[in-house]
Symmetry: C2
Subunit: 298 residues, 2 copies
Amino acid sequence: MYNSFHLSDYLGRCRETIDTALVDLFDQVDQNRRIVAAMRYAVMGNGKRLRPILCFAAAEAVNGSSGDAILPAIALELIHTYSLIHDDLPAMDNDSLRRGNPTCHIAFDEATAILAGDALLTLAFEIITDPAFSAPAPEMRLGAVRIIAQAAGYQGMVEGQMRDILAEGRRLSIDALKSSHALKTGALIRAAVETGATLAGGSPHQVKQLRQYADDIGLAFQVTDDILNVEGDPDRMGKAVGTDADRQKNTYPALLGLDASKTLANTLVSHALSSLDIFDHSADPLRAIATYIIERKR
Amino acid sequence: MYNSFHLSDYLGRCRETIDTALVDLFDQVDQNRRIVAAMRYAVMGNGKRLRPILCFAAAEAVNGSSGDAILPAIALELIHTYSLIHDDLPAMDNDSLRRGNPTCHIAFDEATAILAGDALLTLAFEIITDPAFSAPAPEMRLGAVRIIAQAAGYQGMVEGQMRDILAEGRRLSIDALKSSHALKTGALIRAAVETGATLAGGSPHQVKQLRQYADDIGLAFQVTDDILNVEGDPDRMGKAVGTDADRQKNTYPALLGLDASKTLANTLVSHALSSLDIFDHSADPLRAIATYIIERKR
């Protein structure tokens, strides 16, 4: 029953699964090495684990299990973390706080942060090939490598960050802002549901609907991020607010106003939910996550 | 016949194969995008293409062809280029010249250079999954992803660069210097012969011998690099010399002296050649490359 689904329990279970996998990953290697310490510091911060959770939930929507999706789930969180480390660098957004803690280049130094990001990105692809996991089959894993590499690379997340930087000081159209976000955050969120559903044996039609869902919630997530930067609570968020306005960044509140931004986020989530109509209760986690994305306080 | 083998013709053919593949790769995408321009700028510089050449030559040594090795060859050159871009950054080695041209962060800017490196690293893994190539089989490709990711990551090249940075201002033992180089440059050179030989169907014994060859020439390559930094011709090398001594870097000439460094390079190459004794004339390219590595002027 949709109403009886407890999202916070679900999110807690998913986070425990992914955090256990990440701890196991780093426990296997020498903790005293500086590069490992920096990688671990960034990964084990207080993250929402949204991408792994979406990966698990998409696997479950097609009647698979989180176990089917563990390899891309880990890979996606490592890639997400690498992108945060590099985005925070002085040459990029120059942020000193992330998830309530000093950013990687503040806690370590700039060279170490660049290398830790590089190493996490590389490790993401190594993980998918891990022979300690008997499944999925090589062909499926190679497909996951392809989906994730395309989403993370110069046609996806990297291009989004490049556009973000180029847009500084220029006023974008709302369409340009949307397509920038579709690349910067949307591509990896889409990859999360796509790899999760694919590895769990989803049909092409199911995967297509899930991609549509992901595109809508990915955008809704970014709109909500912008709204939180205006009216969020810095203590709950673990980072400063009002920074977008200070930097005159292109945001939905700046371009549309706060009320229209909230309406946009709601419309996107409604659309995302309608994409899930072909699924039964197996997609309840994805439904609840869509609502959570715009109601979250951090 | 070994004596009749013309290395310069061979290197020219290999470079043409890899350069054509790289040009094709970038011709498929929008040249006007800044991220693509930066990636292309760095990749199409005047590189030696050593890793792709070794990848091809290893495939041929086990009686395969360069076609068997084209995907890892491209991937390795992209990864090598990414590592140069990031190593040259102000926070790392702060170099302004590379291959005779301004480094990527000088020709573009620091943020673009970081992103171009990230994008090239990611593209390397995308390339290996390219469905436009009918071979090799998914299992073989996944193996290549694993070999390359392990060589490039926190247990390989990234760790080598981290150690390089940590060693600044400290005098290393010769063993520590060797193991640092085995990671920083050796790991990717080993991955080149390993992926080339594996994808061309080499036996475990053949691959083992080729790995030993690679470890020796990888180290010889680094020793020669250090020697060239002392007595090379800056015009031929396209970069400044004497920079290692200025920075008091740990180098073979600094730790062993110039003559002992040359002896070491020669010994390593002899050992590399003996690892090839199990191969017939199919390994002549690898034999000639080993000699070239210490005789090169750039």
